[in-house]
């Protein structure tokens, strides 16, 4: 089946994008549309002592100047975090209030204070400049250290010491005992640098209020329009769910940053009601740096104990996670259930204990960014393994091999139950492709040219397909993480698939159609994927956590099962053959052992004319399904990076990057490889280039593309992407998910290569030329 599962079909959705016919939110213009601009705090921490709107209100084209007291006065609720985490002592997390427009206090540079609505964008921006907000500046805590220091400024009254929670997982005593009795203990302090997701399409929202129907429409750059509608209705009381339509049209990348419901969407919906005008807001890039949720920002101490043979006996991890100024939608889950639960890596570790201190600071809120917790875990585990191997004088590949999990299912000490994998198979495949054995020769060649060559690996594992609803509910999630699908077979046999997943680059319009084509043998062109509109799709949890394959497609499979059952009943009735003899092949419904057959379209027509259906059968051919996953899925793999460092400049060049992944069953290898390429580039960006930098006053120094180093084409190599797949045992297609793996496995592989090259393990991300040069020279000085 050339268009079915496993075929590298070219993407159906490409045509509109390559011809300029994509329809992103900012491309849409509604009738009677006005524009919003936000007045944002220039201070990281200050009391708002007064707002003088008079000058702005008098300006040409200004329709409204709206503040936080009006917003809360109209009953608009605070922004919430949807995952409750309980501290070690049993106390609930300390969530501070977050109003979409600040009322009495601002807590980060960029915090929205006033919204100006005007006829044109230029008028709105000019009037925003004229709003005079008076502030009384307060002391600032711009990082974890400052937020936890004695006498640190109190950012939220109900979070004493700026601590949101102090959480733990695993067995403390057993882990301490195991490490105390270890033959060798490796200890490291590891920082995971703060990143900005930087989807190329800036966030945007357009809102419309229909007074006659008392109905709202929101066009927005969302990865999960139904979640947005639910939260906007149930928690922010902007509009009841049945009176709010959320449309996420073409969305230009998300990487997590477009999961959350931000102040701007709330304010624009409310402002549409206030002004009876459609309202558009589109972020500029600096606004994106100042307001899109950031990612990572962990500081960790880790201790790993080994017995005399090199077997891991215990792993103890203490992490401090910077949450920024407010708790974003899924922020609390990221450094806990998406991080500490992956600290067993690909290894047999009998004892694990992790504690996580979640901390407020006067910075942009931090939430899930591609990988979300799992890159942080992979970075800790894989830097520890590499360092331990070097300290013990063992081959890093062999130390990993020796400790690999080999039997499945495997229950780790930190919740996760791995269902499948062949870790050694991926390791071997990657080492062969990277010519690991020939490295010493290449290193000598580099040395002859005055360069330092290094090789490093990372054997990551992650948890995708989030997630079994009852399980995440028991861990504090406020929502279930199932997915829904509806299959509509039309009277002429064409098929529409309505899905709660959302495609913003992942290629669902192609891969989801491939699953259907594979099942019924109908042409890909006869299948349309419908997503991103709450009026069309009944409900869905959206796309993040590499869940569209393992969860979204599983829902489609479940609905296809129901369609298939009904088609077979209709076929049996029309062909006058027993149902068990009916098969669907190549778009034809056949009775085996006979030459009787019906075209696919004939079944559709029969279902809708309903002239001759089995007794008691309802007309029509439309089935829906909700799929709740049985377990997380566990993509894993081995990445190997080879670098050359110029000791004169400290500049690192990546010479080779090999990825061997286990994604289970793959629908479209072309698209899967594309996901891996993009993920690796983001991971290489984290390792070498990217960092959100704040000064001590909480001013973001990296808030434009002139200051924040995005990976460009000549910063990254071509990638060798390979697969060694084992089927996932817990979902119908056997898929594991592939969206985040590249960003999870690559940072430790790059840093392990650099530290191998320069002979100094003390380096933090991003490993800029300045840092690498300093590390080379400090190692030299130490040696001298």
């Amino acid at each position: 089946m050339s268009e079915g599962i496993g075929a590298a079909v070219k993407r159906k959705e490409d045509k509109r994008f390559i011809t300029g016919a994509g329809r992103y939110t900012d491309d849409i213009r509604l009738e009677n549309q006005a524009y919003a601009a936000f007045v944002r705090s220039p201070h990281a921490h200050a009391k708002v002592t007064g707002i003088d709107k008079s000058a702005a209100e008098a300006m040409e084209g200004v329709l409204a100047v709206l503040d936080g007291k009006q917003l809360t006065g109209d009953g608009i609720g605070n922004i919430i975090c949807g995952w409750a985490i309980t501290s070690k002592d049993g106390s609930p997390m300390n969530m501070g209030a977050w109003s979409a427009l600040a009322t009495d206090k601002v807590r980060y540079v960029g915090d929205a204070v006033v919204a100006v609505i005007a006829e044109t964008k230029a008028q709105a921006l000019a009037a925003a400049e004229a709003v005079d907000v008076s502030y009384e500046e307060l002391p600032v805590a711009a990082n974890i250290g400052a937020a936890l220091a004695d006498g640190a400024p109190q950012i939220h009254d109900n979070a004493p010491g700026n601590v949101i929670y102090d959480w733990e997982i695993g067995e403390l005593q057993a882990t301490d005992d195991a490490i105390a009795g270890a033959a060798h203990v490796t200890e490291m302090d590891i920082t995971n640098n703060r990143l900005s997701p930087n989807a190329m399409e800036p966030r945007s929202a357009i809102t419309k209020y229909d007074a006659a129907e008392d109905h709202y429409t929101l066009y927005t750059t969302s990865q999960n329009p139904h979640v947005a509608r639910l939260v906007l209705s149930a928690f922010y009381q902007v509009a009841p769910e049945h009176k709010l339509r959320v449309i996420a049209p073409d969305v230009g990348g998300g990487f997590g940053s477009k999961i959350y419901i931000y102040p701007e969407e709330i304010v624009c919906l409310w402002a549409a009601l206030k002004t009876k005008r459609s309202i558009k807001w589109t972020a500029d890039r600096t606004e994106a740096f100042l307001t899109d949720a950031h990612g990572r920002d962990h500081v960790t101490n880790a201790k790993m104990g080994f017995d005399a043979d090199g077997n891991i006996v215990g792993f103890k991890v203490s992490t401090k996670a910077n949450f920024g100024a407010y708790m974003s939608l899924f922020s609390s889950a990221v450094p806990t259930y998406l991080y500490a639960t992956l600290l067993s890596g690909t290894y047999n570790i009998p004892n694990i204990y992790a504690e996580v201190l979640a901390v407020y600071s006067n910075t942009v809120p931090v939430d899930a960014y591609r990988g979300a917790g799992r890159p942080e875990a992979s970075y800790v585990v894989e830097r520890m393994m590499e360092t331990a191997a070097r300290e013990m004088g063992k081959d890093p590949a062999e130390l990993r091999r020796q400790n690999f999990v080999r039997e499945f299912p495997h229950q780790t000490p930190v919740i996760m139950n791995y269902d499948s994998g062949d870790f050694e198979g991926n390791l071997n495949q990657a080492m062969e492709a990277a010519d690991w054995a020939g490295f010493e020769g290449r290193k000598a060649q580099s040395a002859a040219n005055g360069k330092l060559r290094g090789i490093g690996m990372a054997c990551y594992i992650e948890a995708c397909g989030i997630a079994p609803s009852a399980a995440v509910g028991s861990l504090g999630a406020g929502v279930g993480l199932w997915e829904s699908a509806e299959v509509r077979v039309n009277p002429v046999g064409t098929i529409e698939i309505l899905t709660g997943s959302h495609s913003h680059g992942q290629g669902h319009e192609t891969t989801f159609a491939q699953v259907v084509a594979d099942r019924f043998g109908v042409p890909l062109d006869s299948i349309q994927i419908v997503h991103g509109d709450t009026d069309k799709v009944q409900f869905g949890m959206g796309t993040y956590g590499s869940r569209s394959g393992p969860v979204g497609m599983s829902a489609i499979v479940k609905a296809l099962d129901k369609v298939e059952a009904k088609v077979k009943k209709i076929g049996a009735h029309l062909l006058e053959e027993p149902e068990e003899n009916i098969v669907i092949e190549e778009g034809t419904v056949k009775a085996t052992g006979t030459n009787k057959a019906l075209g696919w379209h004939e079944i559709g027509l029969a279902a809708y004319t309903a002239h001759n259906l089995p007794p008691d059968m309802e007309p029509g051919l439309k089935e829906g399904a909700f799929y709740d996953p049985l377990n997380f899925t566990f993509p894993m793999g081995c990445f190997i990076c080879e670098v050359e460092v110029d000791p004169e400049t400290g500049k690192t060049e990546i010479l080779k990057f090999v990825a061997s992944d286990d994604f289970g069953v793959i629908i479209n290898p072309m698209i899967v490889e594309g996901q891996v390429h993009g993920g690796i580039a983001q991971g290489v960006g984290q390792a070498l280039l990217e960092e959100v930098v704040y000064d001590a006053d909480g001013q973001q120094l990296s808030a434009s593309y002139m200051d924040y180093t995005m990976p460009r084409a000549d910063d990254v190599p071509s990638y060798d992407v390979l697969h060694h797949n084992t089927k996932c045992t817990t979902n119908p297609l056997g898929m594991k998910g592939c969206g985040e793996a590249g960003a999870i496995g690559s940072p430790p592989a790059v840093i392990n290569a650099i530290t191998n090259a320069i002979g100094n393990n003390d380096i933090s991300m991003p490993a800029t030329p300045a840092k690498v040069w300093a590390a080379i020279n400090s190692a030299k000085m130490a040696a001298e």
Partner: protein
Amino acid sequence: MTTVSMTVNGKVAAAVVEDRTLLVDFIREHLRLTGTHVGCDTSQCGACVVHVNGKAVKSCTMLAAAADGAEVTTIEGVANGDLHPMQKAFNDNHGLQCGFCTPGMIMTGIDMVNRYKAEGKTLDEKAIRHELEGNICRCTGYHNIVKSISQAAGEM
């Protein structure tokens, strides 16, 4: 206010615009050709690349008034009945994911190939990566964009 008149995708486009109107805003907001995108405010990302008198220009760096009298081609004007070889190459090689940077990449790619051909130079992987310095993509890791431009270079 300034009167501007230019040829965009073969059609005359004239309007009275504010003096400060950028070419990208003229294209997007006045002509409603929304294939040309805005991804940053500092002329770094290249999502807004169009051709002005046959050369790739970031349309956010140019005033509409400065393009008065010019021949402008946007992504909407590239296909001539059939897809342009550069457009086809991006589809063939999975050179796009979310599609937001894609119009700028295609316009840059066409300009790059034209220049190298005119100068008789070879457009190898290293040259393509160097030439893409002004275009940022967050989805593809550039691997398949490089392949796409390389394929089109052989076909243009």
